[in-house]
């Protein structure tokens, strides 16, 4: 070589040695930290790695009606699943499965995240046998898994009440401590299923297995296993016979709602809406189209019984009557100027439901015939403040407290301020309000509670669906004598010669009721009917509304009649109801 040694000016080797030493020191310190300082943490993680926890899903609690009839049960179904493996194996297996069953709509999204990937859930028996008999020999990672799913035997009749289940979407629940939910799990989305989710769900068990990272299972470790604890049974106050009768009675062509409660306790006996849906489609893996249709139609999912807001029409007249009797404005004998079919107040002419007029009548007759003119006269003496005070006492404008999801609407009991903020207050507003028109809005459940309060002698109950009845509140300043007169008037609605509710008469059961025909913008009149029975010692209070149904007595009355019939037709119901009443009459 031509280079001379003096040309070779090398730096000291120590610089490079120091760099190498420094790098090795980093490695040694890090190893010291991993293997000595924090070794225990890693040892534990290593143990957890070795032992796989396979979840044993707890069976969901069944839901029963008051007589132990099953309203929601669990159905077993088959799913084809694939143990965690390499992407290559996964794709090959998924493709083989697709081709074997001739169905390409499967979940073939590979994910390392899940130990088990469900290729297709809720498969038919043909698919199960294809997997078991043909595929499993060549594709050992394929497996048939038995899952359970909610099933509602009375699909449409209980849909709004029980609600429905759906695949969990809320990531915060999945990530919550305790790992209660896993992706793909079903959770109560609405109704009873949602409200009682924590009771119904139960406690999942764990099955321990020694596995490798590919998810292949080895030795079982039974000493570690934890059994699953099934969810609690849920007994509802619902009377299935009444519920089904109400669902049958409501016309399929019109929207409407029926709520029946025990007036003494607030126990909900039936809660039905139309239109309704089959809650089973929400847990089905096949009914995608039907599900979309229901989800897109806002009116189908609407639980009208607690969220529908309607003007109550003449069914509200008892408020005016009670206010007038309590304040001494009228009694059972006093009469006003004869009803001539219309009444002019200021510039406005108010019409009665009978165009040629009802003639001269007292309070009982005015309720029996549902005379508007009588109540217009009453309103002018009563005044807005007093009337509103009594409407408020019967719970209008307030939630009833029923525990159901989505939560109930409050309705609207307008205040003077409400009008002042809008078109301004005139006395004509009260004339409308007293006959249940104008801005007033109520929910069917509020109407059922109001009817119950009249029936039970002045107690405001909280409608409930399960468990012990909440304590009922006595309504202040309402004397039993007043309510007795009102009940008598409601009895006359059904049995009086001129009664608007004569169509609901049933042999052997005394019924008291009130009809309502509410004018609503943009559709036919809403038909209303509230009733309680038996007249003495009532055990059922009902409110029904048919949107655009027309006359309350003609349309809603016969529907309520079918429900009351179904209620009393059951053997022993009368006794049962009597016992309930005795037990809860504090």
């Amino acid at each position: 070589m031509e280079h001379l040694p003096q040309q070779d000016q090398r730096p000291q080797i120590n610089g490079l040695l120091r760099v190498v030493t420094l790098l090795f020191a980093v490695l040694v310190l890090r190893l010291l930290y991993l293997q000595v300082t924090t070794s225990d943490d890693y040892a534990r993680e290593s143990d957890e790695n070795r032992i796989a926890q396979k979840r044993i899903k707890a069976p969901r609690g069944l839901i029963y009606d008051r007589d132990g009839r099953v309203l929601a049960r669990n159905r077993a179904f088959y799913s084809v699943s694939l143990e965690r493996t390499t992407r290559k194996d996964f794709d090959a297996t998924a493709t083989a499965f697709k081709e074997a069953i001739g169905d390409h709509e499967i979940n073939d999204n590979y994910s390392r995240r899940h130990r088990t990937i469900r290729l297709k859930r809720d498969v038919d028996f043909r698919t199960v046998s294809i997997v078991e008999e043909l595929l499993k020999a060549d594709w050992p990672l394929l497996d048939i898994e038995i899952e359970t799913q909610r099933h509602y035997p009375y699909s449409h009749s209980t849909a709004h009440l029980l609600g429905y289940m759906g695949i969990i979407q809320d990531q915060s629940l999945i990530n919550a401590p305790g790992k209660t939910y896993m992706p793909g799990d079903f959770i109560g989305k609405t109704g009873i299923e949602k409200i009682y989710e924590n009771n119904l769900r139960g406690l999942d068990g764990v099955h321990y297995l020694e596995v490798d990272a590919a998810g292949r299972t080895g030795r079982e470790l039974p000493e570690l296993d934890q059994w699953a604890v099934s969810g609690n049974e849920l007994h509802l106050t619902i009377d299935l016979e009444v519920q089904l009768a109400a669902e049958r009675a409501l016309p399929d062509t019109l929207a409407g709602s029926i709520v029946a409660i025990n007036p003494q306790t607030g126990a909900v006996l039936a809660l039905v809406n139309k239109p309704t849906f089959d809650a089973n489609i929400f847990v089905s893996f096949q009914a995608q189209e039907e599900r979309q249709k229901v989800l897109q139609s806002k009116t189908t999912l609407l639980n009208r019984a607690i969220r529908g807001r309607y003007p109550p029409g003449s069914t509200l007249k008892m408020i005016g009557a009670i206010a007038a009797l309590e304040t001494g404005i009228t009694d059972t004998l006093s009469t006003f100027e004869a009803c001539a079919g219309s009444l002019a107040v200021g510039d406005v002419v108010f019409h009665c439901n009978k165009l040629d007029g009802h003639g001269e009548m007292n309070l009982l007759e005015a309720i029996e015939t549902s005379c508007n003119i009588y109540f217009h006269h009453l309103a002018q003496i009563l005044g807005f403040k007093t009337w509103r005070e009594y409407a408020d006492k019967f719970g209008f404008g307030h939630p009833t407290g029923i525990a159901l999801d989505p939560s109930e609407a409050e309705g609207l009991l307008p205040s003077r301020q409400y009008y002042q903020e809008r078109e301004g207050w005139t006395f004509g507003h009260l004339l409308n309000l007293i006959i249940g028109q104008g801005a007033m809005l109520v929910t069917p459940i509020q109407m059922a509670r109001y009817t119950a309060a009249i029936a039970n002698g002045g107690y405001l109950v909280t409608p409930y669906l399960s468990g012990e009845p909440p304590e009922r509140q006595p309504i202040e300043g309402i004397t039993p004598a007043t309510l007795k007169i009102v009940r008598k008037a409601m009895y006359q609605v059904v049995y009086g010669n001129r009664g608007t509710g004569r169509r609901v008469q049933i042999d052997g059961i005394a019924i008291a009721a009130k009809t309502g025909t509410a004018q609503v913008p943009n559709r036919n009149n809403d038909a209303w009917f509230v009733a309680f029975a038996p007249y003495e010692n009532p055990t059922i209070a009902i409110a029904a509304v048919i949107e655009g149904g027309g006359g309350g007595g003609a349309v809603a009355g016969p529907i309520v009649r079918q429900v009351i019939e179904a209620y009393f037709k059951q053997s022993g119901t009368a006794d049962q109801a009597a016992t309930d009443t005795l037990l809860t009459a504090h």
């Binding site: 040694p5 000016q9 090398r10 980093v26 070794s39 290593s46 790695n49 390392r112 995240r113």
Partner: protein
């Protein structure tokens, strides 16, 4: 016989012990595998070790000065083999191998050696003065960049970066001023300083501090205004381009990939899986390990690529901190021995080769072990002498052969 007496037996012994340990641990790592090919990896590795050792000893007996004279053809041969990979290469997700009859070779492994030889030749031909001029530096840079570019095309980023590792130590050894090395490296530091995800919001301050600090440093030491201004411009644009690329150019999935690269914990079951499982393996090994064949992380296949890239995790799990320290001690000995040889040999060309080889070994050891213990990102670089893989073993034993060769001629100019 003179040559036999001149052999560096300590270096040879340390290497043989390391290779033997590698074969043993490959046996353990692959023992529970389903694949017979993997199960027999230790056998293949042992056979290859004999072959590679023969090659390595043959290199010792190459006459003096021959390697110097064939440095250019060797480099060309390395480049051609890399081109051949691009044309006919095979591999699972990147074409890295060349099939030669029954053998599968990874030309990038051998190109590492030929590139170091070429660099050593170039730098030893240069005067110190020339190396401190831009032209001299650019020549060395080109020698490294050409094979790097070919390997990036495979694509194999980790291996490509490893070609840059010997460059700066060799430049330093050849007499390049530290300040100039800093000038060349500073744009890379600018990129790192301005990279937001690393600093969690503090990037602007860190970047500004670096720009001000480096400018002051350069100006005070060199005192040439045009150099200072050029460096400010280069560093500023390097940083700003980084910010721009990150904010406006990269797609979300690309960002995610970089983020998991930096922080594997953020994707525990995806790309973070390997690192986490490796840390669990090493950490759970504790002081003395779970014993040979006793590693559960390995046995239950939680540890990926246990017998190749993650062989150190198997050692950490089964032999514990003690075993890991022994491995580190072996490497430390081999590397410092290489540096000492570099310092003691009289011939400048040989000296530079020794420094280059030591740098290459250091880079591989630090990046691979660093990866298994979570201080370096996952790059797929093998651990010298230990990872299962013929090409890597061959090139590393050739490196040892070269060091032994250099050692025997340490007194010659």
């Amino acid at each position: 016989m003179r040559l036999f007496r001149e052999l560096d037996f300590l270096l040879l012994a340390a290497t043989l012990v390391t290779v033997l340990l590698g074969v043993t641990m490959i046996y353990s790592a692959a023992f529970h595998s389903d694949s017979t090919a993997v199960q027999n990896a230790w056998d293949k590795q042992a056979k290859f070790a004999f072959f590679a050792l023969a090659v390595s000893l043959a290199i010792v007996y190459i006459p003096d000065k021959v390697i110097y004279s064939i440095a250019h053809p060797l480099y060309l041969f390395g480049l051609l083999s890399l081109l051949a990979v691009l044309a006919w290469g095979t591999g699972d997700d990147a074409a890295r191998w060349l099939r030669l009859g029954p053998l599968r070779l990874q030309p990038s492994e051998l190109a590492k050696i030929t590139t170091i030889i070429a660099l050593a030749r170039y730098l030893s031909d240069c005067t110190t003065e020339r190396i401190n001029k831009p032209r001299g530096f650019l020549g060395a840079l080109c020698i490294s960049l050409v094979p790097m570019a070919l390997i990036v095309r495979q694509p194999d980023l980790g291996t490509a970066i490893s070609f840059g590792a010997p460059l700066f130590p060799m430049l330093y050894w050849a007499g390049m001023r530290k300040l100039f090395i800093f000038l060349v490296v500073s744009p890379i530091i600018s990129v790192i300083c301005s990279f937001e995800p690393l600093w969690q919001g503090a990037a602007p301050y860190i970047f500004a501090t670096f720009i001000i600090g480096s400018t002051a440093f350069i100006h005070l030491l060199l005192g040439r205004l045009w150099v200072t201004i050029t460096m400010i411009a280069v560093n500023l644009s390097a940083g700003l381009i980084t910010v721009y690329l990150w904010d406006h150019f990269l797609r979300q999935y690309q960002k995610d990939r970089i983020m998991t690269f930096l922080d594997p914990e953020s994707d525990r079951l995806g790309s973070g899986w390997n690192i986490i499982q490796s840390k669990i393996a090493i950490g759970s090994g504790g002081l003395t390990g779970k014993g040979f064949l006793g590693g559960t992380q390995t046995k239950y296949e939680f540890l990926p690529a246990a017998h190749t890239d993650f062989i150190f995790s198997v050692i950490g799990e089964e032999l514990g901190f003690v075993g890991a320290l022994v491995v580190l001690a072996l490497f430390f000995f081999i590397i410092t021995r290489a540096l000492q040889i570099g310092a003691m040999v009289k011939n400048r060309f040989y000296s530079l080769i020794a420094i280059g080889l030591a740098s290459m070994l250091t880079f591989h050891v630090f990046v691979n072990i660093g990866m298994t213990i979570g201080v370096m990102p996952v790059t797929g670089l093998p651990l010298p002498f230990l990872s299962s893989g013929g090409s890597s073993l061959l090139s590393n034993l050739v490196a040892i052969g070269l060091l032994l060769h250099i050692y025997t001629y340490r007194h010659e100019y």
